[in-house]
């Protein structure tokens, strides 16, 4: 079902975190390399302390008394130093990183502050050894254009990347690796100006391209992280973190809209029904004393439950692909390490109808009610989990909660935590402010990579592309490849541009995994095309072949696909064709070339360029007619 974005009132914004490819880290002279965790030289343990207000809702509730955090174990390397260990004051802001950030800000038409102030942003999940992340606002008030219109870029910050979580242990301690801590990254946030799912993907792609065009950002898995915030009319602002795949952005937007619309429907339905959450948690362990359910026995044998009056069918309602309302509630139970089961999905998990009936009678529940149960090893774990579930169920009757969610690989998302409040920041007094010399900006401006607009104009002039094609390739991430190919081989620029845009889009739509292709392979295709090794009609076929077998060469693909044709064979075929159609040629004269071309093309489509075939055929036909005239 297509979504009418204007009607639902979609407002979305993107936040992109991109690691910079600097020689050293943001505040120390360590290299910006990720390490094999096996190479850790030593480790140390720390706690972080924070006032109650800093522990965050979950932690504050779960550890009413605690002032200390969980135990954090940090793995250190010969490529990390005392700064990462929080044992030495940070150095000055890395000027190389500042330059890259300024360059990106200029490309995004942003206004740059005159003096950069490094701040400490409190983060006490252990991902920063100091308990805060160092971050500096570099620029504000920029914009970029998409086919759908202008999108404002609100802010660009230069900050240090966090340590990487590598393990959460059963005792609650968390292991972090220090290699990533301190790698410079830029955080770019757009205004909520995005109005369609396609536009969201376009903005993300364009930002990615602008970042890459500096040539100074890291490439590869984990070097760019995308978050998207989405809201619709009557819904709530939801932030979806950790979008790995650009192509998923559109799907994520659509799925979130669907989720919020469904939740609104459920809310109306529940209110109509007079739904009610009973905050009475009952010990149901007796019912399951001799249960056949391995899920329950493995969880520890204790079963607690509660009744959601009028909720029958609600938990089983699908909100997103693979996610029902019950899954949303289960996310909350999972925070206490327990699973959630409910009568919308039972009997299942080895729980029998008899057991369900006994539960129903304990609660005096009718068919219109839903019972939720949690199996656990301790009473407090079960109660904590159920309380979270009941609170979330109750919220479903009031509206859609603002929250931070985690992107799932299929484009759905799962609950992560409440939306964070305002960042708690104070100045990093160990790092002096950096004043930006206007000359430095001028110098950077003069060396900026080409803008899209300039490039599109140049392609029209230089390569004779029409407006549509110049725009497509000019905005495409393949523009560098395009220029390199056109300069290297005698091939039509239009053909190269068309291949790198439309053809690739079509193939991707078919499901062909073009990411598997290397730039070299694409180069080879056009090199061999220029050498008349095959006909341009075969390009899609070759791309398809290599995408499936990425370690094969283009030569091999031509061979395997039977595209290689010796010109002698072609010539012989044309001669034979002409000879066998002599009467037809004498009758039609030069006009016989057209119909005969059909025969020749059937044989050599994709193997020999059509134009070339045509001229060969014409030559032979004319030769015949000429010879005949002499008779």
């Amino acid at each position: 079902m297509a979504i009418d974005y204007a009607r639902v009132g979609l407002r979305a914004g993107l936040e992109i975190h991109q690691q910079l490819d600097t020689g050293t880290k943001l505040f120390c002279k360590c290299p910006t390399v990720l390490r094999d965790k096996k190479d850790a030289r030593y480790s140390f343990i720390r706690y972080l302390r924070a006032s109650k207000s800093e522990l965050g809702e979950v932690d504050a509730a779960a550890r009413a008394e605690a002032r200390y955090s969980r135990t954090f174990i940090y793995k250190a390397y010969d490529t990390t130093c005392l700064v990462e260990n929080d044992e030495e004051p940070p150095g000055e802001l890395n000027p190389e990183a500042i330059d890259i950030a300024l360059e990106i800000a200029l490309m995004l038409n942003m206004n740059i502050v005159d003096e950069i102030h490094t701040m400490r942003k409190i983060v006490i999940d252990g991902s920063n050894t100091c308990g805060f992340q160092r971050t500096a606002l570099i620029a504000t008030d920029g914009w970029l254009t998409t086919e759908e219109g202008r999108v404002r870029v609100d802010s660009l910050c230069l900050e240090e990347d966090a340590a990487q979580k590598i393990e959460e242990r059963a005792d609650g301690s968390v292991v972090y690796s220090l290699d990533r801590l301190g790698i410079p990254l830029v955080e770019i946030g757009t205004a909520p100006d995005i109005r369609t799912a396609d536009q969201a993907r376009n903005v993300a792609e364009q930002l990615g391209m602008i970042l890459r065009s500096t040539g100074k950002v890291k490439r590869g898995l984990g070097t760019i992280r995308q978050d998207i915030n989405i809201s619709i009319d009557g819904g709530a602002r939801v932030e979806i973190k950790g979008v790995q795949n650009l192509r998923l952005i559109g799907t994520i937007v659509d799925n979130e809209i669907t989720r919020q619309l469904k939740l609104m429907e459920l809310m109306h339905e529940l209110n109509n029904r007079g739904g009610r959450v009973e905050h009475r948690i009952v010990d149901l362990s007796d019912i399951f004393r001799d249960t056949a359910s391995r899920v329950i026995r493995r969880a520890g044998g204790l079963v607690y439950g509660a009744c959601l009056r009028g909720f029958a069918g609600i938990l089983g309602t699908e909100l997103q692909p693979g996610r029902r309302f019950g899954s949303e509630l289960a996310d909350f139970a999972a925070r206490y390490g327990t699973g959630l089961m409910h009568t919308d999905e039972l009997p299942a998990y080895g729980i029998t109808s008899a057991e369900i009936a006994r539960m129903r009678s304990v609660f005096g529940a009718s068919e219109s009610d839903c019972i939720v149960i949690v199996a656990a090893d301790t009473r407090s774990r079960a109660e904590n989990a159920l309380n979270e579930v009941l609170n979330r169920a109750e919220e479903a009757m009031r509206g859609i909660p603002k929250e931070t969610r985690r992107a799932l690989p299929n484009g759905s998302s799962a609950y992560m935590r409440p939306l964070p409040g305002a960042a708690r920041m104070y100045p990093e007094t160990d790092v002096p402010p950096v004043e930006i010399d206007p000359l430095r900006l001028k110098d950077l401006s003069s060396r900026l990579p080409e803008t899209f607009e300039h490039r599109i104009g140049r392609y029209k002039r230089q390569f004779g592309l029409n407006d549509e094609l110049a725009t497509k390739i000019g905005r495409s991430s393949n523009y560098e490849l395009f220029e390199a190919i056109v300069r290297a081989y005698k091939v039509a620029p239009t053909l190269v541009a068309r291949t790198l845009t439309d053809t690739m889009v079509e193939l991707t739509r078919e499901g062909v995994e073009l990411e598997n292709l290397t730039g070299q392979q694409i180069h080879d295709i056009f090199r061999l095309l220029a050498a008349n090794e095959f006909g341009k009609e075969a390009i899609p076929e070759i791309l398809r072949y290599i995408a499936n077998k990425p370690d094969q060469t283009v030569e091999r693909a031509i061979e395997e696909l039977g595209l290689r044709t010796s010109m002698a064979d072609v010539e012989r075929f044309i001669e034979d064709t002409v000879a066998s159609k002599r009467d037809f040629i004498f009758e039609k004269g030069e006009r016989a070339v057209g119909p005969l071309m059909g025969i020749v093309m059937r044989e050599f489509r994709g193997k020999v360029d059509g134009k070339k075939l045509n001229s060969m055929l014409k030559t032979k036909v004319l030769e015949l007619l000429e010879a005949n005239k002499g008779d």
Partner: protein, 420 residues
């Protein structure tokens, strides 16, 4: 406009809104509503006041319940000298304020209230590099009074730069029947990772222990796993910034405190070497110091002029930090001989820090002894300096000075040095 004023600044078609911050330069520093500070050059900036500074909207500290006066817990005193073990951050303005009152310290480190009943006082509020002998004396008297008034133990919070000197001075000035524990933090107390709280909690635990000495309690390693208890005369700051900067030199630490964040009532103290026990000593105060003493570090090519200068300026005693086993250039010997003859004691220590001074091995050393230089044994140079101040306040008799300097008074001289 004063800092704290809410303003709107228009510059180059951009509008910034936020609170004016103090600025170290001519630039305007603004804390934006998103929490970030930015600096703006005043040129072309149009500043418009939105709200004047209102001290009432200053973030009200959350009044947290503080445990005091719990029965059965020992009574400890925290004396503050300027080293901060607790801070509060106002995230609205970004201001960091150190906390000194008992209430504020307990609010920041409530675990202390589970270990003891705490009362606190600020003695002075200075950076530890601005410390001087007369401050040590005042501090010694305050500690003496606290113990006299029944404190079960005393904790002194101190900046780490000169904490070793103060610990050493207090060791000579006070004979204590209870623990006197100096504590500080290497990583600022406004960061969630600060070592301040753990050090303070371990210090409180030591202050309740059976120990009766002046000690320093600080992180044992870079981890938050245990603190060492260092003898006041043997401890030295050996790193500019790391948590485990404090180390016992020429002796093992007295003991360690294993730290468990989840239950501070279960902290265990393990003693690793001999120490005075609670009640072994009768409380005594010997707070007199001869401040006019100097510590001189010898280096290759250094001339003895510095000695003449120091004596001319009225110094009554000199500690040398010599090379190796305790040497200075042979050129210095006539000068040293002369000042010693004039009644200025000269004590030799080693810039090696580790090991003992022994001037009987080489010719220069033997000449130094002949000139009357007092071997400082295995005393830290800083400890020797403080001790010389203390000794000279009691006697100016050169033989008596030598005897006292070479007699172990407060654990500053170790008879046997183990292979560390």
């Amino acid at each position: 406009m004063e800092p704290g004023t809410r303003v709107r600044i228009k510059k180059n078609n951009v509008t910034y809104e936020g609170i004016l911050m103090p600025s170290a330069t001519d630039n305007i520093v603004l804390k934006l509503d998103n929490g970030y500070n930015v600096g703006l050059r005043p040129e072309n900036a149009v500043v418009e006041q939105i709200e004047s500074y209102n001290s009432e909207i200053k973030e009200q500290p959350v009044i947290e319940e503080v445990m005091t006066g719990r029965e059965g817990l020992p009574q400890l005193t925290i004396l503050s000298t300027g080293g901060t073990i607790a801070s509060r951050v106002d995230y609205r303005t970004g201001a960091v304020s150190p906390q000194f009152s008992t209430h504020d310290i307990l609010a920041a480190i409530p675990e202390l209230g589970e270990i003891a009943n705490i009362s606190g006082r600020v003695i002075y509020s200075i950076l530890s590099e601005n410390m001087r002998a007369s401050y040590w004396q005042k501090l010694a008297r305050e500690i003496y009074n606290e113990i006299n008034n029944g404190a079960y133990g005393v904790i002194v919070t101190h900046g780490t730069d000169t904490m070793g000197y103060t610990a050493s001075a207090l060791s000579f000035m006070i004979r204590t029947p209870v623990p006197v524990v100096l504590v500080g933090s290497q990583r600022s107390s406004d960061r969630p990772s600060s070592d301040a709280a753990m050090n303070a909690i371990c210090a409180a635990r030591v202050a309740c222990s059976d120990l009766a000495e002046v000690v320093v309690v600080m992180h044992g390693t870079t981890s938050d796993d245990f603190c060492y208890i260092h003898r006041g005369t043997k401890v030295r700051k050996m790193h500019t910034s790391a948590r485990n900067a404090f180390q016992s030199v020429n002796s093992a630490p007295i003991g360690k405190v294993d730290y468990t964040a989840s239950d501070v009532t279960k902290l265990s103290v393990e003693f690793m070497s001999e120490h005075a026990h609670r009640g072994d000593n009768k409380l005594e105060l010997h707070a007199e110091l001869e401040e006019r003493c100097a510590l001189v570090k010898f280096y290759p090519g250094a001339t003895a002029d510095i000695i003449d200068y120091l004596v001319e300026r009225g110094n009554r005693g000199i500690v040398l930090e010599g090379t190796g086993l305790g040497h200075v250039s042979a050129d210095w010997i006539p000068t040293l001989e002369r000042v010693i003859r004039d009644g200025i004691p000269v004590v030799m220590t080693s810039q090696c820090l580790y090991g003992t001074v022994c001037d009987r091995v080489y010719d220069t050393g033997r000449d130094l002894i002949r000139a009357g230089v007092i071997e400082g044994m295995d005393m830290l140079p800083e400890t020797a300096l403080v001790k010389l101040m203390w000794v000279l306040a009691q006697t100016s008799d050169m033989d008596e000075v030598k005897r006292l300097m070479q007699t172990n008074v407060a654990g500053e001289i170790t008879a046997r040095r183990a292979n560390l």
